[in-house]
């Protein structure tokens, strides 16, 4: 992101925060409106478009054949990738994924993997030799902050509605992606001493620290990632966890169109 953030903007956001306010009028504990459409890309095995405020993300799932990892000979393979392509923001550049995009990929991947959302054992064709490889690709089209949650919601929605194209690969009838959990990702930004959920792009630009928490249907913690150079206190993390559980329920409750 831009290194030169206007001091005026920073001042503004800090002053508002000191009064418990945000630029777009939200409370610290409110996410922007999120909408999810699924099944929007024909050739994908699953797809979703998520809008989180002005942030706009496409997610597609493709399922190809491959070989299992040596240490998991009877499991399918899950690969999650996010790119920050220049269409989505003036500061993004072409080329191989940079550390920020890698972090996004890995945190979203971790939420899906650690919640054991996909039953990978059902994606084995021949042990040690042939398994299904599930590629989840996250493509932000308009970047206005918090791609972690928008991307995760899209990945989860795309996977929940995906099919395994067994027929195309010559292995019988298609079947639904073996899904068995419903993780939800909620991200916080710390600006000065204030912690607020679902930061906008401008809030991200001035924030000191970031915390992403993935919870499951039972409210258990499945993945967490502190980001950026700032820090959180033990108390702040506990508060975030409570709120992440509550907001996670809201995300799961969203109707997908």
């Amino acid at each position: 992101m831009s290194d030169v953030v206007s001091h005026i903007m920073k001042d503004q956001i800090f002053k508002l925060a000191a009064r418990g306010m945000r630029e777009d009028g939200r409370a610290f504990d409110r996410m922007r409106p999120m909408s999810i459409e699924t099944g929007i890309v024909g050739p994908a095995e699953g797809s979703a478009r998520v809008r989180l405020g002005d942030t706009d993300v496409f997610v597609g799932v493709k399922v190809e054949l491959g070989t299992p990892f040596q240490d998991r000979p009877t499991d399918g393979v899950l690969m999650t990738g996010a790119e920050l392509r220049p269409i989505a923001h003036a500061d993004f550049e072409t080329g191989p994924p940079q550390p920020p995009a890698v972090e996004i990929s890995r945190v979203i991947d971790r939420g899906i993997r650690e919640s054991q959302m996909i039953d990978l054992s059902k994606l084995c064709i021949t042990p040690k030799e042939k398994v299904y490889m599930v590629f989840v690709d996250i493509e932000p089209l308009d970047y206005f902050g918090n791609i972690f949650d928008a991307g995760a919601a899209g990945a989860v929605a795309a996977l929940r509605t995906a099919k395994v194209p067994a027929k195309r690969h010559g292995f019988g009838e298609d079947f639904p992606m073996p899904v068995r959990a419903f993780p939800a990702s909620v991200t916080f930004a710390k600006i000065g001493k204030h912690v607020m959920v679902d930061p906008t792009l401008r809030e991200e630009l001035v924030s000191d620290a970031r915390l992403t928490i993935v919870t499951d249907e039972k409210g258990d913690v499945r993945a967490m990632q502190k980001g950026l150079s700032g820090s959180f206190s033990y108390a702040e993390i506990k508060e975030c966890l409570l709120l992440a559980t509550k907001l996670g329920r809201d995300v799961r409750a969203l109707k997908t169109g």
């Binding site: 590629f135 308009d142 206005f144």
Partner: protein, 253 residues
């Protein structure tokens, strides 16, 4: 081209194609301008089963400096297929096909944009193919052109594009995926309507000289139809956002 297998019947006795179109009929096309907020200009095109997004950033200062041209703006196009846009997953990153398409599209726009008004600047055009179903490069040109206008980039004209081709030994307009797979020729064309000049032209397959001639006319005529759709999309855009309409006198004919 697929090599012209004629086993698969793509056109019936009445000249009706698998998807119900006449031989000289376009697939349904929907164009929307100004669909993204970060980009300086943008457009979304649905063309049959193609879904294409174009975004324009610039004119902005070109950097690093050594790429600056002191006499005009540099125009760069990146055409990218999303990994999930086709049946077999596309590996991220630019392959040779994407590099070539990016180049011919940039070439098509470079003389249409009044680049000399922006020395040392850069204009970036990003074309994302969200769903592909034959004809993405033409859809990309159409979208890019509306996105450039939406960004207020001064141009001689909008640039419409369309392909004609051949299948089952008949000339047809705007090949769909099945037609492309087993078809005999494909001729994507982009023109500058004001002058009738051709700024993008590629052809592969097999056409007699006479067929080529008719196919080229067919695609050029179709371009004029698409031109109207482009202008209409911009009109709708300006109507809905009159207050921030960019200064694009050149494209309002």
């Amino acid at each position: 081209m697929g090599g012209g297998s004629t086993d698969i019947k793509l056109i019936d006795e009445k000249g009706i194609r698998l998807d119900g179109r006449r031989v000289d009929q376009l697939r349904p096309i929907k164009i929307e301008a100004g669909v993204l907020k970060n980009a300086d200009g943008s457009a979304y095109v649905e063309w049959g089963k193609n879904k294409v997004l174009a975004a324009v950033y610039g004119p902005r200062e070109a950097h690093p400096r050594h790429i600056q041209d002191p006499t005009r703006a540099v125009v760069d196009v990146i055409y990218n297929m999303c990994s999930f846009s086709v049946e077999e997953r596309v590996r991220p990153g630019p392959g040779r096909r994407s590099v070539e398409i990016s180049k011919v599209i940039a070439d098509a726009f470079r003389n249409v944009i009044f680049t000399e008004q922006f020395p040392r600047a850069k204009i970036d055009v990003y074309i994302e193919i969200l769903q592909a179903n034959a004809g993405t490069r033409c859809a990309g040109v159409v979208a890019a052109s509306v996105a450039l206008a939406d960004a207020g980039v001064p141009m001689m004209d909008l640039v419409p594009a369309c392909a004609a081709g051949k299948a089952n030994n008949q000339l047809i307009l705007d090949l769909g995926k099945e037609e492309d797979n087993v078809g005999q020729a494909d001729l994507p064309t982009a023109i500058v309507p004001k002058t009738g000049e051709i700024v993008l032209l590629q052809m592969d397959g097999h056409l007699t000289q006479d067929e080529f001639d008719r196919a080229l006319q067919m695609s050029m005529n179709a371009c004029m139809q698409i031109y109207e759709l482009q202008k209409d999309a911009l009109r709708r855009r300006y109507a809905t956002s009159a207050n921030d309409a960019p200064d694009t006198e050149e494209v309002r004919q």
